[in-house]
Assembly symmetry: C2
Homo-oligomer: 141 residues x 2
Amino acid sequence: MKITSRFTVAVHTLLAICVLGKKYKMTSDLIASSVNVNPVVIRRTLSSLKAAGIIDVKAGSGGATPVKDAGDITLYDIYTAVDCVEGDLFNFHENPNPECPVGKNIHAVMDVHLADAQAALENELKSVTLADLIKQLNILI
Amino acid sequence: MKITSRFTVAVHTLLAICVLGKKYKMTSDLIASSVNVNPVVIRRTLSSLKAAGIIDVKAGSGGATPVKDAGDITLYDIYTAVDCVEGDLFNFHENPNPECPVGKNIHAVMDVHLADAQAALENELKSVTLADLIKQLNILI
DNA sequence: TTTTAATGTAACCGTTGACATTACAACAAA
DNA sequence: TTTGTTGTAATGTCAACGGTTACATTAAAA
């Protein structure tokens, strides 16, 4: 079980838009050739990022542009934009037996810790902005 | 996408073995009735926990018993025992374009942060032991 | 020794989600 | 009006999950 690649695709897409957008019109085809996926996959990604208010996409004439400052976009924003996880990260078995002392209390005992683990992951993603990645990238280019 | 319920099933299973094991013979059928899944699912769970050296299972006569002290079993141990995640938590798109400055460096820029996020999750799971859960549970029973 | 009750596993099924791809309508600018 | 692009529906393939049946194996009790 892994978290869908929609996430890394979305980050890649945003980096491309931010870094290459000044020089090129960032169409789904161009981005797709950098990410190396089908252009429709990129259009879906762009659609999600647009819905999240992160970018603007021009229908017809084409091209995606950032709406927010890269310093104000965290990895967590992107993560949620593309719906990597619906609600809880951990899948909990349904209907534990309420007649059993363990089944009756399993949620009371576990839920906090599962939430903590999920929060730890998400906080780490919140601590990194797109600007951080762009800075790193510009050093390497 | 969610992390497989094998994890919460395994925790539930272990709690049942530790808490109810003194009073009852913990067969896959009994555990299954507490968790509310098919007994074969529990046998698969027991098999994984046994392979990880966490419990002992008696073939034939039946019954599962703990091998390690509950204070020495973390949620992370259980998490890995049932193979919730094979290696990396985040799925990375394959073959980003090396001809593109973004595609060429996307791994160099992202990998550290993905690893950090995964480590944050895992460290949180490492910080909780089965003994912690048992203590909580005994208060509620 | 036979019976009984479990475990260990293989096999198969249905469901779900991911990702790829085709197709085409809608759109905006040249 | 032509052209290039976006938006999105539809379809296909594949893998993983969880459910279930079936049965050989095992160990202890009768």
